[in-house]
Amino acid sequence: MSALERLTSDHAKAATGYFALLARWNIWEVLFWLALAGMYFVPNVDLVLMSQIFIWGLFAMSLDILLGYRGIPSLGHAAFFGVGAYVAGYCGKFGWTEPISALVLAMAIAAIVGWLTGKLVQRVTGVGLLMVTLGLNLILYDLVHRSTDLTGGDDGLQGVTIAPVFGLFRFDIFGRTAFWYALIMAFLLFAVARAVVKSPFGLALLGARENPRRMIMLGAPVEGDVSRAFALGAALAGAAGALLTQTTQFVSPNTLSFQRSADVLVILIIGGTGRLYGGFVGALVFLILRDWLAAISPVYWYFWIGLLLVIVVSFFRKGLLPSVEALINRWKPSKAEEPSQRVPPA
C-alpha cells in the first residue's frame, strides 16, 4: 500500500479540518438565533406574529430539504403541514393535551405520509412532479374539507385544548408562551435538520441532486433516498403544522390549502434555497411585509406581494440571503463555502 505511506499527515488533517469547519456553528449563526430570541424584548413587538414567523420559517426549511438539498420542487407541501396540524388538533380534542408528545406523534404520522409520497413520485420529474404534488395536496384538502363530522370541515376542529408546556407555561393571550415554545421547537428541529444536512446523508442528497445517474453508479439507493428525504421534509412540515395548532388552539382546512403551498414556496425562494436559513429569512421578510402592506392598503396588497415575487425571481433568483452574501463576499472572500450553495439547482 505504498500510496498510503506517501501520504503526508498535514494533507489528511487539512481534509478532516475542512469537513469539521463546514459542520461547526459559526458566530453568525449564533447571532442570528440570539437576534430572533432578542425580538421578545423589543418594546411593542407582535409576539404572535413572531411565533408564526418561526412556524413559517420551520415549514419553509422543511421544503428546503427537498428543494434546496435534493432538487425536488413541490407545489403541495402544505399537505404534510396539514397532516401535522390535524394530528395535533385531534390529540388536543381527545385528551392527549400534552403538547410536546403530541408534536412528536404529529411528526411521526407526517413522516409516514411523506415516505409514501416519496415512493409515489420517485420517477416523476419537472412539470409532472409539480402536478402530482399539487394533485395530492388538492385531494387531501378536498377530503378534509368535506368530511365535516370527522374534521369539522370548513368551520375547523372545535374543542382543541392544549395543556400548559411542562405543566407550567399556559398558552396565554399575549403570546408569550407561544413565542418561546415556537422558537425553541423551531431551533431544536433546525439543529436536527442541520445535523442531517451536514451528515453523510446530506452529502448523498446533494450528490443525487447534482447527478442521479452517477449516484446509481456508486451503488447509492437513489429512489430509497427520495422517500427518506420526503419523510424528513414531511416530518418537519408536520411539526410546523402541529406548532400552529398548539399555539392557536385551533385547526382548519386552510392549513393544507393550495394558497399555503404557494406561499411557502414563495417564502423559500425569497430567502434562498440550499442553506436552511433561507426559510427563516424568507418568512421574516414575507410575513412582516404582508402584515405591513395589508395594514396600509387592504384591498390592493396582492399587487405588491406579486411584484416582490417577480422582482426576486428576476434579479435575486438565488434568494435574498445568497445575494447579500455574494455582495459581501466581493470584499471579504470566505474560505469554506457549503457545497449546497455553490451551484444553485436552477
Binding site: T8, F19, A23, L203, L206, E210, G219
Partner: protein, 253 residues
C-alpha cells in the same frame, strides 16, 4: 464452461447475449469471458457495439436474451446498484461528475456509499476520519491533492477525467470497466492514467475500451477485437497486432 480451474475462474462472463434496438441487431450471440485480475482491452471500429456491451454488462441496458455472470453468479436482472455492490464499477465515456461538490467531497461520498454509511444519520461527515484520510490518499495518488477543494466544474478536462477514475477505484471494485479512460488526454497524461491503473491490486480485473493502440499494446494482457456486433478475435496484444484479420476489420477489405 464448467471445467474452469478455480483461480482462473472468469470474474465476468456473458453467455449467448442477444441485443437489438428495434430491428437493428447489435449482438447476435455474444460469448465473452474475463479472468480475475486480467487487464483486458476491447478495440474495434466505431459502431462495433463496444459501449453498448459495457452498458449491457453494467445493467444500464437490458439484453433481449442471454445472461451475464459476475464471479460465477448470474446478474442479468440485477439493478445497477446491486452490480456495484457486487464489485462491478464503471466510468463514463463523457465525464459524469458532481458539479457543485469539490473533488474531496465527491470521493468521500463515493467511500460513504461503498461502506453504506450515507443513510439517515446525525453524525457529521467530519466524524468519518478514516474515510476522509483514504479519500485524500487516493487524490494524492492520482496527483489531485492540490485541487481537492476547488469546484469540480472548474477543473481542467484532464483532471476531471482522472477524478472520474478515482471515483471508480475508490469503490475497491473486483471488476473495473473503463469507457475510453484516456479520451481527451494528451499521450503523456494517457500513460500516466494507465500506469496508475497498473498499480491497482492484482486481483482487480480491468476491462477497458481504448482506441490508442500503443496504450492497448503496452498495458493490456489480452485484447478482444469487436466488429459489427461480433467478437472477431481474442488474443495477446502481439498476435492481435500481427493478425491480418484485425487490419482488415479496421480498414475494410
Amino acid at each position: 464452461m464448467n471445467d474452469m480451474v478455480l483461480e482462473t475462474r472468469a470474474i465476468l462472463e456473458t453467455r449467448d447475449l442477444h441485443m437489438a434496438f428495434g430491428g437493428l441487431v447489435i449482438f447476435d450471440c455474444m460469448n465473452f469471458a474475463l479472468r480475475r485480475g486480467e487487464r483486458h482491452a476491447i478495440i474495434g471500429p466505431n459502431g462495433a457495439g463496444k459501449t453498448t456491451f459495457v452498458s449491457l454488462v453494467t445493467g444500464l441496458l437490458k439484453p433481449k436474451s442471454g445472461n451475464v455472470f459476475l464471479d460465477g453468479r448470474i446478474i442479468t436482472n440485477d439493478t445497477p446498484q446491486q452490480r456495484v455492490k457486487a464489485g462491478m464499477v464503471r466510468t463514463f465515456q463523457i465525464n459524469s461528475l458532481f458539479k457543485a461538490l469539490n473533488p474531496l467531497e465527491s470521493v468521500v461520498l463515493a467511500l460513504l456509499e461503498r461502506d453504506n454509511k450515507a443513510r439517515l444519520s446525525l453524525r457529521s461527515v467530519s466524524a468519518e476520519t478514516e474515510l476522509i484520510d483514504e479519500a485524500m490518499a487516493l487524490l494524492t495518488q492520482f496527483d489531485l491533492a492540490r485541487d481537492a477543494y476547488g469546484l469540480t466544474e472548474a477543473l481542467p478536462y484532464g483532471k476531471q477525467r482522472l477524478l472520474e477514475i478515482v471515483l471508480a477505484v475508490a469503490l475497491r471494485p473486483k471488476l473495473l470497466l473503463l469507457d475510453e479512460p484516456a479520451a481527451g488526454l494528451s499521450t503523456q497524461q494517457g500513460h500516466e492514467v494507465f500506469s496508475q491503473l497498473a498499480h491497482l491490486s492484482k486481483d482487480t480485473a480491468i476491462l477497458f475500451i481504448e482506441h490508442d493502440m500503443n496504450l492497448v499494446f503496452r498495458y493490456a494482457d489480452v485484447v478482444s477485437v469487436f466488429a459489427a456486433g461480433a467478437l472477431v478475435m481474442q488474443d495477446t496484444p502481439e498476435n492481435v497486432r500481427k493478425s491480418p484479420r484485425v487490419r482488415e476489420v479496421y480498414l475494410g477489405n
